[in-house]
């Protein structure tokens, strides 16, 4: 007998309206969506244990983190990026990633925090994605400064956000779930001038 799982509800529901909006007569320049990953984890290595943690991430997810601050990689199904010294966000479309890591991250290596129910993942894609993002966050979104796969920790009106570049003109934004609807509405308003489609 199949396990009876509860329905997953989106915090954006009352303000999530698929279709074209804003100034889209001249074309839709950004596409907004909620990616709804099943797993969002925060992994942290004790000082000196970073390389062991990166190796655990590679074993469990198959993703090899590039060197350097804020480095990351995305396979489309899974994603990982550094957001602070020795700390990484790991995302999977499927649920259950925390269980996969639980045995592998020993107390000597570091810690695992399951944020699957605490964060909401939003995606902005299209030729004007950099333009719209630059209105929210005071960081450089140009490709040479913010390479493919890389992650950034920053904030919007004092609300913390993590951002990963998951495509040349695509960003995934991780926000607190309790703030997600407010941020989503702001993102929609900011996208009106370029024309946006909600998928």
């Amino acid at each position: 007998m199949a396990e009876q799982l509860p329905d997953r509800l989106s915090p954006l529901e009352p303000d999530y309206h698929p279709g074209s909006h804003g100034n889209f007569e001249q074309g839709v320049d950004v596409i907004l969506s909620e990616t709804r990953p099943g797993s969002i984890l925060q992994l942290a290595a004790w000082p000196g244990e970073e390389k062991r943690l990166i190796e655990v991430i590679r074993k469990i997810t198959g993703l090899a983190l590039p060197d350097g601050a804020g480095g990351g990689i995305s396979s489309g199904v899974r994603a990982v990026f550094g957001f602070a010294p020795g700390k990484f966000t790991v995302v999977d479309e499927a649920e259950g990633l925390a269980q996969a890591f639980a045995g592998a991250i020993t107390p000597a290596i570091g810690t695992l925090t399951d944020l699957s129910h605490g964060r909401t993942a939003l995606r902005i894609a299209g030729p004007k994605a950099e333009w719209v993002m630059a209105k929210f966050f005071a960081i450089d979104f140009a490709l040479p400064a913010f390479p493919l796969g890389a992650g950034r920790s920053t904030n919007h009106h004092d609300v913390f956000a993590q951002i990963q570049r998951s495509g040349a003109d695509q960003f995934d934004i991780y926000v607190f779930r309790s703030f997600a609807r407010s941020f989503w509405k702001a993102l929609c308003h900011a996208s009106e001038e370029v024309g946006y489609e909600v998928q």
Partner: protein, 92 residues
């Protein structure tokens, strides 16, 4: 004012929280040396020029940083992690 976080790169000062004078030396918690506690709480160099400060990148990677800031020009002369062990890997 921009502060270059060793992890995140240059960021607006709005992302940072000032954690106080970086010259203070906190006595051991059990210390009963009243002069040392008095100096820790009240004595400040208050220089017109380069000043050692502690800042936290609270709106970013949340690292605590040692910063040298010129109190006249607000120029940031140097930044580094306040704690050792994470010296490598800064964005250039």
């Amino acid at each position: 004012m921009l502060i270059t976080c060793p992890y995140c790169g240059p960021r607006d000062v709005i992302e940072f929280t000032y954690q106080g004078d970086g010259n203070r030396e906190r006595p051991q918690p059990a210390s009963q040396d009243l002069d040392a506690w008095n100096a820790y709480v009240y004595d400040r160099l208050n220089p017109a020029g380069d000043h050692n400060e502690i800042w936290q990148h609270s709106g970013g990677c949340r690292s605590h940083l040692r910063v040298v800031r010129n109190t006249i020009t607000h120029e940031i002369l140097s930044t580094e992690f306040a704690r050792g062990g994470h010296k490598a890997g800064g964005r250039s």
